[in-house]
Symmetry: C2
Subunit: 111 residues, 2 copies
């Protein structure tokens, strides 16, 4: 599956969340991401490791740039030696296919 090469689609409040069946199909493609739930909102969450702060900061910047390119924005936590990225879709309070696309693109930036 070439999820990382897909583009995000514009998302509205009535856009559909991914179904459990779609999650079963998409999650194995981005299997390093944890499916978490915060305030009843499902997210994709992954921590990336680095050997210093500069590497972490540079990665955060790259993630931010693809977010801007696609008009879909994550929460990025930058610390010495690690970056945690979480993707979800605010407008639908849950996961959209866009989030899996962005998770795959984020993986592509790493290492």
């Amino acid at each position: 599956m070439t999820l990382a090469r897909e583009k995000c689609v514009a998302c509205r409040r009535d856009s559909p969340r991914v179904t459990p069946e779609e999650i079963d199909e998409l999650h194995p493609v981005v299997s390093d991401w944890e499916l978490t739930e915060v305030d009843e909102i499902k997210r994709l969450d992954r921590t990336f490791k680095f050997s210093d702060f500069a590497g972490a900061l540079e990665f955060s910047q790259k993630v931010g740039e693809i977010a801007e390119d696609e008009g879909h924005h994550p929460r990025i936590i930058t610390e010495w030696g690690r970056v945690n990225v979480a993707w979800w879709t605010h407008k639908i309070r849950g996961l959209h296919r866009n989030d899996f696309i962005m998770a795959a693109k984020t993986d592509g930036l790493y290492g």
Copy 2:
């Protein structure tokens, strides 16, 4: 007080935490920062607002750059429209004067 112009000093495991009296003296200089405590470790914590993601990302990058300059590193949470920065000193599991210096320098980058 010209806290923002001070340089961080090298910190070791036996470096002294700021005393309650020093906190009383230093906190008013960076009064927009909240004194929080996570896992019994005191931190300085502030959320900065922006009108979009790009502004937030740019600010995070600047905070990261001064962190690298001083060799003292925060946790930075970047989201659409806001950045949360937390300063504390891992080695002493608490607050050092360095953290107040970095908070003041961070304020100087904003707006």
